[in-house]
Amino acid sequence: MSALLDVQDLHAYYGKSHILHGVNFHINAGEIVSLLGRNGVGRSTTIKAIMGDVPPVGVVRFAGRDIAGMKPHQIARLGLGYVPENRDVFPSLTVRQNLLLGQKSARQAGRWSMQDMFRIFPRLEERADTPAGVMSGGEQQMLTICRTLMGDPDLVMIDEPTEGLAPMMVELVGNLLAEIASRGVAILLVEQKLTIALKISHRLYVMGHGRIVFEGSVADFNANASVRQEWLEV
């Protein structure tokens, strides 16, 4: 069986800076995969390159199609969802309008409806008609994930969803990720912390200096203390 997302020898540059030095990894349909690593090792750049936000050099195949060189909106339309790290909610629009914009067209019927979102996060329903800009960081994080889900992706790539969140919120995010996976949607989770990643991931990748430096299951990772020390800890 071929992977849902297959990345081979991916390079990427920010201006003149060579950030990715040949990244290889893959994600199968319905799988939860975490991409770990310290700040600045190229995790965010990896997803941005896949999304076409940073020009990718190398092979990026999604659902059997070569997507390197496509425009971000074309890639999104193929079923690849992206939740950015800086939680780009549309601040002047209401929560409901933000969610509506997640849909790619007005008539789209997918795995997720607005009601689903409100059921999972009652808080969003309470604030449905308030501008998204006035919500707390955690609520905005929920909103961005839900907004992406409204587009009915087959794979969501989520960049540091727990960054700066209170422990209770972190747990909520964890639950949401589990719910996403339960509907057969694959997840690529980019994280620095291990809290959620170790709990829910099927497989892990660790990045260092623009390359993948470790690949394996959670058990493999736990068994290999040197990886943790060299590439993640202070």
Partner: protein, 311 residues
Amino acid sequence: MLELVTFSTLNGVLYGMLLFMMASGLTLIFSMMGVLNFAHASFYMIGAYFGFEISRHIGFWPGFIIAPLLVGVVGALIERYGLRRVHRYGHVAELLFTFGLAFVIEELVSMIWGKAPVDYRPPPSLDFVAFSLFGTTYPAYRIFMLATAVAMFVFLILVLRRTRVGLIIQAALTHPDMVAMLGHNVPRVFMMVFGVGAGLAGLAGVIAGPALVTQPSMAALLGPILFVVIVVGGLGSLGGAFVASLLIGLIQTFAVAINVSLADVIGPTAAGIFGELGRAPLAQIAPVLPYLLLVLVLILRPTGLFGTRES
């Protein structure tokens, strides 16, 4: 006095609404693409000329519909094959491109239709007196202009607030990249907004042409005022553009109507202090007022009345 106030208010609001029909497109384009479109008033002029040309052959009403659409298409094509190309050289190049475009459009128009004003008239169906007040008559065509402008305004608000496309536009104003990554074709939205903005300006031209003078310098006369409107209102603020349009519309019409000089108001000393300026009637100084307002606003409130960003 009451007569003067009534008619000046009517005309001022009318002029203000016309300004807003252009300023709204200009503001949207600026907010989205960061481009101050120098050629925006040129679209207004093309609208008037297209309207004139069509009305000559098949009548005013077809022109009223077709001309703005044509201008919109021209605008969209210019965005797609001109502006988008220049984008990579930065904002200065974009500004210069639209500057050159305004120049070329003026030359083309005077080449095709001549330098003298053309005879673009209101349709006979609207060529009557709407009402008369205190012995002065008010033409029905002006009422029609006002109605069109208000209808346009309502339409714009509805599209922006109530439709999906409006939502996408609002979101793309601040976060174009994120909007694209949700699967919306942002470049196409830009092109559309540019086209619709141009079309709105064209519509303003179609309806203003018969009331004012349709001539090749009409763009150059109006363009700078338009910039005053959007800077005074606050760059990127649609509400600000609306208020500033009305403000400038009213100031201009009242200034023209009131035939008083500074010397009449504060006595002959004014002439001593302000010299010629003190003696000149307000009507003569009227063209200066918008720019004076612009400079004042920039000194006292650099973000404009409702703006949030400085540049």
